[in-house]
């Protein structure tokens, strides 16, 4: 589909040819390749597809062309635009968004849980009836996915990783309560299987589509696969909702997705800009939704029947999640920050550290990281 869109763009600009460069699927490898290109000041690719957590890093390194104010910035999801700013300047345009979702079984429950405690009790009840083995499955392996799961619990309890000044607050009481809840889900309540500590998205999807789990935390990609009766035993019996709030917090959904940015060393800044504008225009986003099931980053599209027809997901429920999306910390050292956090989260969940001690250690290491990077002042001036 991207090839067709590029061909149409090239037809509009007869003097150019647009090549598509395929990069590795694995985020780490793609990131590594980008760093090699950009660090060497390679002029190509002119336009880059960025993961939402990379924009600040590449912008701070001076590798991205600053973008003028988007004429229709209001149309994009605010959290996605904020994640693409660095020190007040916009460096990338949201292309499609990804959002954390709680998948629930419509044959087991009347409706989605409205609080985290309701979710916990509903999961226990479902297990009690013997209809499911696990109450809830989430991504607990030591990788980026674990941070998004933690982030949703964190916001549910009213916490955050960094505050608005960029200070580390992941060792505060709400964070300890959130991590304790996650740990108790495995060890005390037993609603989450211990094996989830080695699971990424696909293992949780397998558990849920086999009818083994009452709730699953996952991304929108799982929807179409769960509806495929060939491989899924729960097709037609699934609903989605945002992650429910606990005491002191709000409903949330971790924000992911892809952005388009312009290489600072490009020889063709005007054309690159035109290409970014073209690919992020409503028509192209709608086509992406229809063909690839990816969620547009423009809010106005969600009010149109065209999107409801293009997407197989229950749009109203998805919008409820999109309205409460939270970005991960916007900082040039995000990847390393995340890696430090992952280690301590995983130690706490596997019983090697107490939640409070784990978060204290993680916070101390993240503060040292920000100090080494010269970023203690905070990401926004």
């Amino acid at each position: 589909m991207i090839r067709q869109q590029l061909a149409r763009f090239a037809a509009l600009h007869p003097e150019t040819r647009v090549d598509l460069r395929i990069t590795p699927d694995a985020a780490d490898q793609r990131h590594q390749l980008y760093v090699q290109w950009l660090n060497a000041r390679a002029a190509e690719p002119d336009v880059l597809q960025l993961d939402i957590i990379w924009t600040a890093e590449f912008a701070a390194a001076g590798w991205l062309e600053p973008l003028e104010v988007l004429p229709d910035a209001d149309d994009f999801f605010e959290a996605a635009v904020e994640a693409n700013r660095w020190r007040g300047t916009l460096y990338a345009v949201p292309w499609f968004v990804d959002t954390g979702l709680i998948y629930w079984r419509t044959d087991l429950f009347e409706g989605p849980p409205s609080t985290l405690d309701q979710l916990r009790r509903a999961a226990l009840d479902a297990m009690g009836t013997g209809r499911v083995r696990d109450g809830l499955v989430w991504q607990g392996a030591r990788y980026e996915g674990l941070v998004t799961v933690f982030l949703e619990h964190l916001v549910a309890f009213g916490g955050a990783i960094l505050d608005e000044h960029g200070s580390v607050i992941v060792d505060r009481p709400p964070a300890v309560r959130a991590l304790t809840f996650m740990r108790n889900s495995i060890g005390v309540d037993g609603i989450v299987p211990a094996a989830a500590l080695t699971w990424q998205e696909e293992q949780t999807r397998f558990a849920f589509q086999n009818g083994q789990a009452a709730f699953m935390r996952n991304w929108p990609y799982a929807w179409a696969l769960l509806q495929d009766a060939e491989q899924s035993t729960v097709s037609g019996r699934v609903g989605v909702a945002p992650f429910p709030p606990a005491d002191g917090g709000v409903a949330s959904a971790a924000l992911g997705g892809a952005q388009l940015a312009i290489n600072r060393s490009t020889q063709e800044p005007e054309l690159a800009r035109a290409l970014v504008e073209y690919l992020t225009a409503p028509e192209q986003m709608l086509e992406r939704a229809r063909v690839a099931g990816q969620l547009p980053a423009r809010r106005s599209l969600y009010a149109t029947p065209a999107l409801a027809n293009a997407l197989s997901m229950p749009l109203a429920d998805v919008v409820r999640a999109l309205e409460v999306t939270v970005p991960r910390p916007v900082t040039p050292v995000y990847s390393e920050l995340s890696e430090l956090l992952q280690v301590h989260l995983h130690r706490a969940l596997s019983g090697q550290e107490e939640p409070a001690a784990a978060l204290n250690d993680a916070a101390a290491e993240i503060r040292a990281l920000l100090a080494r990077a010269g970023l203690e002042e905070g990401p926004t001036p």
């Binding site: 390194a61 080695t198 080494r372």
Partner: protein, 289 residues
């Protein structure tokens, strides 16, 4: 006079002939090592290009010493070697003795023994991971999520994979032992156990030391099994030094610190290599005869 001229010409020719080999050794071994040492003395962080690449002496090594994750990674590496190498030597010796005494189907027995060694480590690791994952092996134990138990699958996979290598090395050693020694011992009334202790083991000592050295050097560079099977987890409970160096270099993109960690892997293996060469010269009968 003419002889010495000829000698000098020979020497020149010899140097010329050796030169390509030296260039290759220099280019392949020494240049990358020197480059890594050079990087390890600088701060270079690809994610933080605004910090530049200042020379910081042994700063990266100082950071490593103060980094608990580094100390734990060293410990993990040593503990892994301490468990896996003796197991591989013992089982490898047993396997070699069996192969040595197999009369019929010798070729088949050897090929069958060598099979695990022929399988790429990553493939074997994926299979072992699958076996131990999610209530693994029908045992109901969550092997990979317990900080201590997670070592068992890694050590088992390593022993399974490399015991054949040890066995073949020792088999070669066994075949070099003069059969007449056993005949003489039998005539003097020595049983199989006595023969093993007084003839086989002493004469096999050089081969055992070589096998132990090879295995220890490999074990200290442990990377692929935990990378595939546990990702170094839970937490960092099964993270060996090479994996931590990889994470520092390839994920954090900290070229300086990652290089310092790589150097420490190099130093650790070099030390063990030197010790084993020492031991080898002591146990080799030929050198002192």
């Amino acid at each position: 006079m003419s002889a010495s001229v000829a000698g000098r010409a020979d020497a020149r020719l010899a140097r010329l002939l050796v030169a390509p080999a030296l260039v290759i050794v220099f280019g392949i071994a020494l240049v990358p090592i020197a480059a890594t040492v050079w990087e390890s003395l600088h701060q270079r962080d690809l994610r933080l290009p605004w910090l530049g690449t200042p020379f910081i002496g042994f700063g990266n090594f100082g950071e490593a010493l103060a980094d608990p994750r580094f100390g734990e990674a060293v410990l993990h590496t040593l503990v892994f070697a301490a468990f896996s190498v003796p197991l591989e030597l013992t089982l490898g010796l047993a396997l070699a003795l069996v192969m040595h005494h197999v009369v019929r189907g010798r070729g088949v027995a050897r090929v069958a023994t060598l099979l695990p060694w022929a399988i790429p480590t990553v493939v074997a690791a994926l299979v072992w991971r699958f076996i131990f994952e999610t209530g693994g092996g029908g045992s109901g134990v969550e092997w990979l999520t317990s900080p201590v138990a997670a070592w068992a699958p890694i050590i088992i996979a390593d022993v399974w994979k490399t015991t054949p290598f040890v066995a073949v090395l020792l088999l070669a050693g066994l075949q070099a032992i003069d059969r007449e020694l056993y005949d003489a011992a039998r005539m003097d009334g020595a049983g199989p156990a006595r023969q093993l202790v007084t003839i086989t083991l002493p004469l096999l000592a050089p081969a055992l030391v070589v096998a132990a050295a090879f295995r220890a050097l490999d074990a200290l560079r442990l990377f692929d099994l935990p990378y595939v099977m546990t990702g170094g987890g839970p937490g960092t409970a099964t993270e060996p030094l090479s994996l931590y160096a990889f994470i520092a270099l390839m994920q954090r993109l900290r070229v300086g610190y990652g290089s310092a960690l790589s150097i420490s892997v190099f130093v650790l293996t070099l030390l063990v290599a030197l010790v084993s060469v020492r031991v080898l010269t002591r146990v080799s009968p030929g050198d002192h005869a």
